[in-house]
């Protein structure tokens, strides 16, 4: 039996080191405004980060971070991306990767005062798997052969085949008291175990969580309440600067203004967004099926300049962020497209017999600077460019026609590298964003990786899959960006999550306090 915590520690050593160095580098500048004090209790943290589409944590489809303050899971993702036990005290994985045994913490109580048992965990898993159709994790739970409660404090999951991100995905299977009203249909007032109780929810306006004074982590939460502002507002940085909000996701172009304000600081999610240009892989048009033409286009991109238009960036050639566990330095060094090479571009186009001026090239994109940059780069090569820039959903829907040639995209933080790779699979979610890849070899490589039990072997397989993507020129990665969060000076011990999660076992809003 192996312990998850030990495995994760090894897996994310590199990232932690990078975070530590970055943290140390910023300390001197922050020292006057953020001097250490003893944590104070009380106050309400006003936070504008994330959304809450439904009060029912099992029904959301992937973007409901706010619920994490009232509902907790068996595991939790740390700021560095490692998986840690949360409602479980420890996790054991069988050597074949098929059985996961979770030993639950003693004394964890739901907000109605009842102690959580293994039967509750099983009931939640069954609700997600069998009753909530179309919800987040529904598909992942299909790979579950059995879930058992051998005793009140042990839960055993048996999988049909090894599935590496299992403990990771369980961090988003929230455990509620099955006696919660609406269990059979839709839950409107969830009873969880989190550091804050579900107090008030007005869709698209606000969520208020009141401190759970019987929380299982002694001394936490330090705040009296958290108030999430979930309104649609043009620019959060103004409310942050005015002191109306303590913590807010801010626009990239507001970062410098926020940094100049002595009452504010800027921090980032642990994970990055990866930015890439996808070719139309499902039904490539004209010369764009030709590998030489794809290579020519790749040589034309100035990655540094492209990423400057994205902001808060690092240039790269992989789906995994530089410095992270699944990133490979040798692969990065071998990147033939690190610098633009227009002479090579022209030579390859000539070799393929492509005359850009006579070649239509259609770009479908969002309305942003890096899309304009992409269109301008292609115009610079002389292509007859048609640029269709749409809103978020308009663009994603337009891509499904597969009558285009290029699309520049950035994709947000994910709790596990598999959640990035799965998008490149034939049956993956939102396939159009990556040109609708349908590549049996790639499917096989990713499937092999995700079912590999050994960490190092799995990493090698993911790298092999990524090498295949690069060799096939299906997607060209240009770099990674980090999403900025503005934090007021009086907010202490707040660190954003690896993804948008505001609460985790070793950080987040339960630890946060307000200096007065």
């Amino acid at each position: 039996m192996r312990r998850i915590a030990r495995r994760s520690l090894a897996a994310h050593r590199l990232t932690r080191l990078a975070c530590l160095i970055a943290g140390l580098a910023t300390l001197p500048a922050l020292a006057p405004a953020f001097a250490q004090q003893e944590p104070q209790r009380g106050g309400t943290l006003r936070i504008a980060q994330g959304s809450l589409r439904t009060a029912d944590p099992h029904r959301h489809t992937g973007d409901s971070p706010v619920q994490q303050v009232y509902a907790e899971a068996l595991t939790s993702i740390s700021h560095d991306g490692s998986v840690k036990p949360m409602l479980a005290e420890r996790v054991e994985v069988s050597p074949d990767g098929l059985a996961y045994t979770f030993h639950l913490r003693r004394g964890v109580r739901f907000h109605n005062g009842r102690e959580m048992t293994s039967a509750d965990v099983v009931a939640n898993v069954e609700r997600v798997r069998d009753r909530v159709q179309g919800g987040w994790l529904t598909t992942a739970m299909r790979g579950l052969r059995a879930v058992e409660a051998p005793d009140p404090h042990t839960v055993r999951f048996v999988l049909a085949e090894p599935f590496a991100p299992f403990t990771n995905l369980l961090s988003e299977l929230w455990i509620l008291a099955p006696e919660t009203e609406g269990w059979a249909t839709t839950i409107n007032r969830p009873i969880g175990t989190g550091p804050f109780r579900f107090a008030e929810y007005r869709p698209n306006i606000r969520f208020v969580g009141e401190a759970n004074r019987d929380y299982w982590q002694a001394g936490l939460p330090r705040l009296d309440a958290v108030e999430f502002d979930i309104r649609q507002v043009a620019d959060r940085s103004l409310a942050l600067r005015a002191g109306d909000i303590h913590v807010a996701r801010i626009p990239d172009d507001a970062v410098e203004t926020v940094r100049r304000d002595p009452n504010l600081r800027v921090t980032f999610y642990g994970d990055t967004e990866w930015c890439a240009v996808s070719f139309n892989n499902r039904s490539p048009r004209g010369p764009f099926a030709d590998l030489r033409v794809r290579r020519a286009i790749a040589h034309a991109f100035d990655k540094e300049a492209f990423m400057q238009t994205v902001g808060n960036y690092v240039v790269g050639n992989q789906m995994a962020a530089p410095g992270s566990y699944h990133w490979d330095e040798a692969m990065e060094r071998a990147d033939p497209y690190r610098q633009p090479d227009l002479a090579r571009t022209r030579a390859l186009l000539a070799e393929a017999g492509v005359v850009p001026a006579r070649t239509p090239l259609r770009i479908v994109s969002w309305q942003n600077d890096y899309s304009l940059f992409t269109a301008q780069t292609m115009r610079g090569l002389g292509f007859n460019v048609e640029h269709i820039a749409l809103d978020d959903i308009g663009m994603q829907t337009r891509l499904t026609r597969y009558d285009w040639d290029l699309t520049p995209v950035c994709s947000g933080p994910r709790a596990d590298i598999y959640l990035r790779f799965v998008r490149l699979m034939s049956e993956g979610p939102r396939p159009q964003m990556w040109g609708g890849i349908q590549d049996a070899r790639l499917d096989q490589l990713i499937s092999q990786a995700v079912t590999t039990v050994d960490d190092a072997a799995r990493r090698r397989r993911y790298l092999e899959a990524w090498q295949h993507v690069m060799d096939s020129h299906q997607v060209l990665v240009l770099g990674h960006r980090r999403s900025p969060i503005g934090v007021r000076a009086e907010v202490r011990d707040f660190q954003p999550g690896f993804t948008v999660s505001p609460h985790r076992v070793d950080g987040g809003v339960a630890y946060t306090w307000l200096a007065r």
Partner: protein, 300 residues
């Protein structure tokens, strides 16, 4: 045509207009690429198979005519449907948002009317103030409400710290009021000046009618008829300004609801919100027409 027949004809036209708007919005929403399930899928990692399942659950898998018939028949029975995003009754969401929008619109209109009338009167009595009226008129035409709102937050909340940046209606109502005031003051001032030169005014003066009574009883009621034809434009501007201010200042009114619903392709919410806003604009236009008939005998 009899009075009853005329009223019936007007009512029928408005009902048909409302019906036309409803159908147009219904069709336009579906022409725009993407639906609520696409939005959900873009936020997470659900598979194509799950998307199909959600479409079936939300009734998005049936054709447009079927959807329109289902929504229309429910709406006629007073049921505006359920939000595709939040699973809540749409009527509850609209009723919760309506007071915020009406309150902001009423406050903006009151400020605008008071400002416009006062400035026009002052400029008639003190010709030197005409430049101020002209400036406000140009402001109301050229200044985008959105930019003025952002500047308002920056000045009153960030720099001066007098007001919270979000969730209050003071600055938004003042900005809407400035816009309306600027639109009213100029034509009203011009008409007041013209009316002041009229022979009946000279006659009233010669009979010793005092200036206050002359202005309030004779000049203003006469000149207001010059502003009434602008009412349609003012109401349309008022709706637009209110919706913009709600989004900028985080006010939970119909504008914020509508924006979220459009971005989330929450069809029932968009349809209901536009139905309510259209009905309000139509009612305002009817009221204006009635006032015009009451005040101006030439229109009767």
């Amino acid at each position: 045509m009899s009075r009853a027949g005329r009223i019936g004809g007007v009512a029928l036209r408005q009902v048909l207009l409302l019906l036309g708007i409803t159908v147009a919005v219904f069709v336009l929403l579906r022409v725009v690429p993407g639906d609520a399930v696409d939005v959900m899928a873009s936020e997470g990692d659900i598979t194509v198979a799950q998307e199909d399942l959600l479409r079936r659950m939300l009734g998005l898998d049936i054709g447009w005519p079927g959807q329109l018939l289902a929504w229309g028949s429910d709406a006629l029975m007073g049921d505006l449907g359920t939000s595709l995003r939040y699973g809540q009754p749409v009527s509850d969401m609209v009723w919760a948002a309506l007071p915020v929008t009406l309150g902001l619109a009423a406050a903006g209109l009151a400020i605008g009317l008071a400002l416009g009338v006062a400035l026009a009167l002052l400029a008639m009595l003190r010709p030197g103030l005409a430049a101020l009226v002209d400036a406000l008129n140009v402001w109301s035409i050229v200044m985008p409400t959105f930019c003025v709102g952002l500047a308002g937050i920056l000045v009153f909340s960030v720099w001066l710290g007098w007001l919270p940046s979000l969730g209050h209606g003071l600055v938004p109502a003042a900005i809407i009021g400035l816009d309306i005031g600027g639109q009213i003051a100029k034509p009203l001032m011009e008409d007041l000046r013209e009316t002041a030169e009229a022979r009946f005014v000279t006659a009233l003066r010669s009979r010793g009618v005092r200036r206050g009574a002359l202005v309030w009883r004779h000049l203003l009621p006469n000149s207001l008829t010059a502003v009434l034809p602008l009412a349609g434009l003012i109401v349309a501007g008022l709706v637009g300004g209110t919706l913009t201010m709600e989004v900028l200042f985080g006010l939970p009114g119909l504008g914020a609801l509508l924006l979220d619903a459009i971005l989330g392709r929450d069809y029932p919410v968009v349809q209901a919100a536009i139905l309510v806003l259209s009905a309000a604009v139509i009612a305002a236009n009817l009221a204006t027409e009635a006032m015009q008939r009451a005040l101006d005998p030439r229109v009767r």
